[in-house]
Amino acid sequence: MLYSPQYMRHFQTPANIGDLEEADAVEDVHYTGQGCFDRIRIFAKVDDGKIGKVTYRVRGCSGTIAACSAMSELAVGLPLEQAVQIQGEDVATELGGVPDRKRHSVDLAAEALRTIALKLTK
């Protein structure tokens, strides 16, 4: 399967990458399955109970970089209670679909958002 234009755009020019000085929370997630060592550090700022901004740092394959970028755009404006429900499939949709070998990437990016949203709700 060839990658979609959305996937390639997010991979080549990832949005919102970097630290976020004004973050209300920072969380780390890494892939816990066999083999893969992809890691994400996610920063988030909350405005009025909604995700105001998400940034991240990532060590990962093209899929995980693209998924982080898509997730960071998807997250903005989401109420925290919705952000804790985000699934890999939601991120995959933003990327115009991903092949099976990149399923771990969208799952990990979604997990990063859920993890930080959960922390912010506490």
């Binding site: 991979f11 080549q12 990832p14 990458i17 973050a23 929370a25 920072v26 969380e27 780390d28 399955g33 066999q34 083999g35 893969c36 060592f37 992809d38 890691r39 550090r41 740092r57 990532v58 060590r59 990962g60 394959c61 093209s62 899929g63 995980t64 970089i65 099976d100 070998r101 771990h104």
Partner: protein, 408 residues
């Protein structure tokens, strides 16, 4: 994508050379006969196949009747391993291989292991070499086969095949080598090097895909693994891939005509790229240097970043390479070769294989090296795990994370 592709993935496959295509073309349309047919067209096809067989066998020090054409080196490996096992006596149910073999050797052997054969998986040293003493110690009266790759497909290690062959010959054990990567790149004479079985293919030497060969030393008996008509000395049924065989012989002949010159050229290209890339901080060369390495191969680990992301960025910049990254594979398993030479899984993920043919140039390595430096800097700028960036020691990213979280 830039206009001119720099193709550094020749351990994967190579482009056909024009004379190879020219040699093959008549056998698609005019001389299309089946070598088994008894009419003129068939006899001509049979003659052409026999000439090709004589050409290739002559290049490896074998007799024509010792060469069986197959569909690939993978099939040749399967025929050697499964065919030898099927022919082994019930008292000889042990075989020996190394931990850095290609899947085309590993998986038939794993099948035998499941079927009750005992397998010794030999360790290799940090450069990927099998220790002769380890092999000697592993051989038992039950051992029927040793299979050790000649030139490794990922890190380029070229084993001392004659030393290993001698141990096996003295012990009365069959010795098989997968020579798919080494054929026409480094010398191999199956007779002098005491090899009983050797696998080859065409598409790593500017020949076509879908054609391989197995050398079977005269007097060595295998059981065939497919049933059908009695082609290929009744060892490999199926109508011969005549254009493929002709292309294989044409490519091999061309390669051997200039083997010394081409090997020297590819070694120079390889070493020029290695020297430039090792200037990048936190890199390491996997496998040996010099003439104990395939002239076609350079494998470099770029720590703290993911090989597949490097590969994709290089691809967009017009450089084709391959990666030992698990993220390049569907099941996310890391390269068995890189972990067997002692790389941490995390570092195996950051490894890139650059592989060359005689068509590559020094100029291409200069262009590619600049692009690699640019990509590595870009990807390292995205991660929180590069040591000097955060004054952390290598591999302690988790510590950094925890510290930063506590600060926040």
């Amino acid at each position: 994508m830039e206009d001119r592709l720099i193709y550094f993935d020749n351990n994967d496959t190579t482009p056909l050379l024009d004379p190879v295509v020219t040699a093959m073309l008549p056998f698609f349309t005019k001389a299309f006969g089946n070598p088994a047919s008894l009419h003129q067209l068939g006899l001509e096809a049979e003659e052409a196949v026999n000439e090709a067989r004589a050409t290739i066998s002559g290049l490896i020090g074998a007799k024509p009747e010792e060469l069986i054409f197959t569909g690939s080196a993978t099939e040749a490996n399967n025929l050697a391993i499964l065919g030898a096992a099927a022919n082994a006596s019930s008292k000889r149910r042990h075989l020996i291989t190394s931990k850095i073999e290609h899947n085309a050797v590993i998986n038939p052997i794993k099948r035998l292991e499941k079927d009750g054969f005992r397998v010794t998986w030999l360790d290799v040293d940090p450069e990927g070499f099998v220790n002769s003493e380890d092999l000697k110690k592993a051989i038992t009266p039950e051992t029927f086969l040793v299979s050790i790759v000649h030139g490794n497909h990922e890190i380029g290690t070229v084993q001392d095949i004659k030393a290993l062959g001698m141990i096996c010959r003295e012990a009365g054990v069959l010795f098989h080598t997968d020579a798919a990567q080494s054929f026409s790149k480094v010398p191999l004479n199956v007779t002098n090097d005491l090899v009983d079985l050797a696998s080859f293919n065409a598409h790593k030497l500017h020949g076509p895909k879908g054609i391989g060969a197995l050398y079977v030393r005269g007097g060595v008996h295998l059981k065939k693994i497919m049933e059908g008509a009695p082609q290929e000395f009744n060892m490999r049924p199926g109508t011969e891939n005549v254009p493929g065989i002709i292309g294989f012989a044409a490519a091999a002949k061309l390669a051997f005509e200039t083997l010394s010159r081409d090997s020297a050229h590819m070694s120079a290209v390889r070493d020029h790229l290695i020297e430039q890339l090792l200037q990048i901080p936190h890199t390491r060369l996997n496998g040996p240097r010099g003439n104990r390495r395939l002239p076609t191969n350079a494998d470099i680990t770029f720590k703290y970043i993911e090989g597949e992301a490097i590969l994709m960025h290089l691809s967009m910049r017009g450089v084709a390479v391959s990666s030992g990254s698990a993220c390049s594979s569907k099941n996310l398993t890391p390269s068995n070769v890189l972990t067997s030479i002692g790389l941490k899984h995390e570092d195996a993920h950051g490894s890139i294989r650059f592989s060359f043919s005689k068509l590559n140039t020094i100029e291409e390595t200069d262009i590619a090296a600049k692009k690699v430096i640019e990509v590595v800097e870009l990807l390292r700028s995205m991660t929180a795990f590069v040591p000097e960036k955060h004054s952390e020691t290598e591999g302690s990213g988790e510590v950094f994370y925890k510290k930063k979280k506590e600060e926040l």
